[in-house]
């Protein structure tokens, strides 16, 4: 009955080897390798903080504490980067691993796992750095932070649900990856990361309700910035959508699986 599990066990060393390879390949020809995964989101947050709070004079309503807006940005970008990293990696994972797929026989389900492993490590490093920075602003970690596992799980589900379907389609229609860079960028701006949702105009505000990433990012804000009890119920919609999308991507993956290597 568990016959199908046998190859999963036999090739178990694939996952650590592949994740290790990914990190090593980043160090291969760059001085600070992995650090870029932390520095890039931080640089992004710094730019927004400078431009929006200093130049445009944006302020975070409700909190008078210094640097509140920077903390708000950092929390949102940490949440967003986990989602977006998994999403973009999923879209390209089959092409990135085409050389391996063509030569080594291994269960293809490993690829999403490798992507997840790499993303969790990166996001963990980013999270630790962000925690240190916001502590300097006086926003200290609390036990409530443990509940962040929930929005993380939800965003992982959403990212895989969308990413695997698009990743499979991208093998056969390479335009997907190009289109998705634009879409992801738009998605970022339709999520309350840089602004708060009450700052959004009525037309954008209405869209935010449908964006499954809105409750995820707001959960981070509630826990880290506002330090209030987060809205657990609000995660129900993105969780259900994520689950449905994962089922869909599982189905597409299963249907496409025999043809994936043929097209690489």
């Amino acid at each position: 009955m568990f016959e199908f599990l046998r190859p999963l066990w036999r090739n178990r060393h694939f996952i650590p080897a592949a994740i290790g390879g990914e990190f090593k390949s980043r160090v291969a020809r760059s001085k600070i390798g992995t650090l870029w995964f932390v520095l890039q989101p931080l640089a992004m947050a710094t730019i927004y903080a400078l431009v929006l709070s200093e130049v445009l004079g944006a302020k975070l309503g409700g909190i008078e504490q210094a640097g509140a807006y920077s903390v708000y940005l950092l929390a949102g970008i940490t949440a967003w980067s986990l989602f977006t990293e998994i999403l973009t990696r999923c879209i390209n994972m089959f092409l990135e691993y085409s050389n391996v797929l063509k030569k080594i026989s291994f269960p293809k389900v490993y690829l999403p796992i490798v992507v997840l492993g790499g993303a969790l490590i990166n996001n963990g490093l980013l999270f630790l750095t962000v925690a240190v920075i916001i502590a300097l602003y006086g926003f200290f970690p609390s036990f409530a932070w443990i509940s962040l596992i929930l929005p993380m799980t939800v965003s992982i589900m959403l990212a895989f649900g969308v990413g695997v379907v698009l990743g499979v389609m991208n093998i056969f229609t390479r335009d997907i990856a190009q289109v998705m860079t634009v879409v992801t960028n738009l998605w970022f701006w339709l999520t309350p990361i840089v602004y708060t949702d009450d700052q959004a105009g009525s037309s954008v505000g209405r869209l935010l309700v449908f964006n499954p990433m809105t409750p995820v990012v707001k959960f981070y804000h509630d826990v880290i910035v506002y330090r209030v009890t987060p809205d657990y119920i609000s995660l129900l919609y993105p969780a259900c959508l994520g689950l449905a999308l994962m089922l869909l991507s599982g189905f597409v993956f299963w249907r496409a699986s025999p043809e994936i290597v043929d097209a690489l």
Binding site: A18, S25, A28, S105, R255, P258
Partner: protein, 453 residues
């Protein structure tokens, strides 16, 4: 047209397959014992009715809708292999031969599991180690050592296992300091060395090798074949794709000829390879109307003349058995039959035959003028058959026969037809002591032993 379809002449330092002390009878006996053994050995790989086809759609979205269960009509279905079935028993060494694009590599990929069959099934409950194309999913930025850790892990070895195997892999690959340099600085031969060393670091139950060895130099090829042979003798099943037919004869006890996605022949090496050679010869003859072409073996075929007399066919037969052959054994008595059709009036006809080796050097040649056998006054519609009987005192390798139809001792006066490299045949050494060169000299050593000074 493929040029590398039949690289029969490849220098290998390997000794002959059979020693001279082992006569033909001994071989036949050994073979029948082997056949008996075969039927008892367990099947380790079973390929049943395997069809692989690529379905092409008008757009990527059509394919997507098809997965979702919508009835989308594909643009085209291309069959790569069609209904292929065969069983492989433990310890068998099998070669897949055939022209480029015949479906050999696809079949290996299906067996390895990187590709999935469209129809049919492949069963094996054993570990497979496969070297498909070049490399093993290597990363060009990594050093050889790092690639061994990366790909070795992906192949299923634990880190501890790999560290234990590392000295062996490094020693076998013999790429020196390059082992700790990035793969992008490697030559293709060095990549092949690393891939082979890693894939064969531990003995699998089934070893699959796809043409990688041809990238390596003669030294590494020899070394790799020694390891393959060692695995085979230890009971490992070998499946290889190669265009080097001498290797096939030496290493394999069964050959599958793949043509257009089907198994055309499945049997002992000499039988299948001869069939293959005949198949290729047929193909050459079918397009002889061209004035100049490069044939499948890479021989250039040039035809000139006024075509009043033409060579219809050249065939080689074994003199003792009378059986048509494409491969002659060193020292075998053979008959070379040349059929000549007369299409216009010919006052005097001389046939010249010339045998060349692979490098184009003339090994032997003469014509019927020198042998005082010119035929006179022949009219259209007649057919002449020339039979040249000779002992095949040639060294192992590939040779070509160029026939010329002229009116006297040179082709300058009346050239009816001159064709370079029309007929190609192979010579193999099965029962003589090992020697190199194109000529079998009737030579023997005698040794006097004494004290010096």
């Amino acid at each position: 047209m493929d040029k590398d379809i039949l690289l029969t002449v490849k220098e290998t330092n390997s000794p002959p397959a059979y020693g001279s002390d082992e006569g033909a009878d001994g071989r036949a006996l050994a073979q029948s014992v082997e056949t008996l053994e075969n039927s008892v050995r367990p099947v380790v790989l079973s390929v049943q009715n395997v069809t692989k086809s690529f379905t092409l759609y008008n757009s990527g979205m059509h394919r997507f809708w098809h997965w979702m269960g919508l009835p989308v009509k594909p643009r085209e279905v291309v069959h790569i292999t069609k209904d292929v079935s065969f069983d492989v028993r433990k310890g068998e060494a099998i070669a897949l031969i055939g022209q480029n694009g015949a479906g050999k590599s696809t079949l290996l990929k299906l067996i390895t599991g990187t590709m999935r069959p469209t129809k049919g099934r492949i069963d094996h409950a054993h570990s497979i180690s496969a070297i498909l194309e070049l490399g093993l999913g290597f990363n060009s930025e990594f050093t050889g050592r790092e690639n061994v850790r990366l790909s070795g892990g992906m192949l299923g070895h634990s880190p501890a296992e790999l560290e234990a195997l590392m000295p062996d892999i490094e020693a076998f690959a013999e790429i020196g300091e390059f082992f700790d340099k990035p793969l992008r600085t490697y030559s293709s031969g060095m990549q092949a060395r690393l891939a082979f060393a890693l894939a064969t670091a531990t003995q699998p139950d089934i070893l699959i090798v796809d043409e990688v060895l041809s990238v390596g130099d003669a030294y590494f090829q020899h070394k790799s074949f020694a390891r393959i042979r060692e695995f085979r003798d230890n009971g490992c099943t070998i499946i290889l794709v190669t265009h080097a037919l001498p290797d096939v004869r030496e290493l394999c006890d069964r050959v599958l000829l793949i043509d257009k996605g089907v198994v055309l022949r499945d049997g002992p090496p000499d039988e299948v390879i001869d069939y293959y050679n005949v198949l290729i010869t047929e193909k050459q003859n079918a397009i002889l109307t061209l004035e100049q072409r490069r044939n499948k073996n890479g021989w250039s075929v040039t035809r000139s003349g006024d075509f009043r007399a033409v060579v219809k066919d050249i065939r080689m037969f074994s003199a003792p058995s009378g059986k048509e052959i494409a491969t002659a054994r060193v020292g075998e008595k053979v008959l070379l039959k040349t059929d000549v059709d007369i299409l216009g009036h010919v006052p005097q006809l001389v046939l010249g035959l010339m045998i060349r080796d692979r490098t184009g050097h003339v090994v032997w040649g003469t014509n019927t003028w020198f042998t005082r056998q010119a035929i006179t006054d022949i009219s259209a519609g007649e057919r002449l058959t020339y039979t040249l009987e000779f002992e095949c005192a040639l060294g192992p390798g590939s040779y070509s026969v160029s026939p010329a139809l002229v009116s006297s001792d040179t082709h300058l006066e009346n050239n009816y037809e001159w064709t370079d490299n029309l007929f190609v045949f192979d010579v193999i050494n099965t029962d003589k002591d090992y020697f190199i060169g194109t000529t079998m000299l009737d030579a023997s050593f005698s040794v006097d032993r004494g004290t010096n000074g």
